[in-house]
Symmetry: C2
Subunit: 222 residues, 2 copies
């Protein structure tokens, strides 16, 4: 049912999916930045993906995934997140090491491989960063998480997801002993740079920059 796509095409689809979250069309320039590829190359690829009915594309307007394209995206994400779970839970990698390896493994396309891996792992619903794993049909749990930056003072919240997947952010969070499940509470908010002073895990006090606070997703804690 789904076409066989090249490694490169899959990376474009993933990037479009990521940038598309609000329904608006995705710019060529934003895509070119996301993929670190010249804008001219992106234009070429978008024409190709249009031909394959993976994106809607109009010159000078931008692109969106078709229903079919979105299915592809969800399958790639499913593969990526299942491998991340495997690497972290079975092979003992740290959560800040799994992303790059999963980035390669996700392109191995066999459907039966992924479904058997899913079963082997016990049908996990979230990857080690707290992101939901789409099921075999491409259904994905929608979370109503808040950004830490939007949480009021003195309200205990639980870390449930990290927005950015770079090794850099995960290294920083490790340093501060913040991981999925950690309870946070904001003590002060500095309006000068919108940085925060928080209590992490019930005792440790630490400073959080604006950028970081916009990449930590939390839920209320009882």
């Amino acid at each position: 049912m789904l076409l066989n796509l090249s490694y490169t095409e899959e990376n474009y689809i993933k990037a479009i999916y990521r940038l598309e979250q609000d329904g608006k069309p995705v710019n060529t320039n934003d895509l070119s930045e996301q993929l670190r590829t010249a804008a001219a190359s992106v234009t070429d690829m978008l024409k190709k993906l249009k031909q394959k009915k993976i994106v809607h594309y109009k010159a000078y307007y931008g692109c969106n995934l078709t229903d079919n394209g979105r299915k592809h995206a969800l399958m790639i994400i499913r593969r990526h997140r299942l491998w991340e779970y495997f690497l972290s839970k079975k092979l003992g990698f740290n959560w800040d090491e799994v992303h790059d390896i999963a980035e390669e493994l996700e392109h191995v396309g066999s459907t039966s491989l992924i479904n058997k891996l899913d079963a082997f792992l016990g049908y996990p619903r979230f990857d080690p960063h707290g992101d939901p794993i789409p099921d075999e049909q491409g259904h994905i749990i929608k979370l109503q998480n808040k950004l830490l930056s939007a949480v009021p003072l003195h309200t205990p919240v639980e870390v449930v997801q990290i927005g950015d997947q770079s090794a850099n952010i995960l290294e920083l969070l490790n340093e501060k002993n913040i991981r999925i499940g950690t309870i946070l509470e904001i003590r002060k908010r500095f309006s000068y740079d919108q940085s925060l002073e928080i209590k992490a895990g019930g005792k440790q006090i630490t400073q959080i920059s604006k950028e970081l606070s916009q990449n930590i997703l939390v839920q209320e804690h009882e």
Copy 2:
């Protein structure tokens, strides 16, 4: 220490390693057949691999792996066989389904991935087809197995390895209930086509073609 190679280059190295087993130089034509690629393309690639010091190559003569090339080959084989073991033992695939998937997984190059996978699997020494798995240093157990075609009549032997890895042969062996560990005994040998009549697993009588008998490796059974 080892260079980063493309998917394609790795496939050439694997094919050369396979054809090189007896130390003699590998012909361009044999390689081109093995890889299902035009001989002219093979010539081009051999020049490139020579530049990268992966093969010794002289025009009209043939090629051999350098010591460095052989190290690469052993690492690719290590990755392939560890994935085959994982697919078969952990995910529950049949042994005739694992080869093609491992063929893709083997190109994911992370060394720490493979070493952690090895540990997770308990450092297995043989893959599901009975082939030895090279260790982290590239050491590989040399087996002195016999081809079934070379075994005398009425001598019980144990299947320890399958030479050819195609799904076709494995399907045929499944049909005949022959797998690693099965005890075989040759009952008759037909000189017309060198086919065999054998007893498999102590009771079942079945016919084996010459081709098949040259791809079943066995050891003496007590």
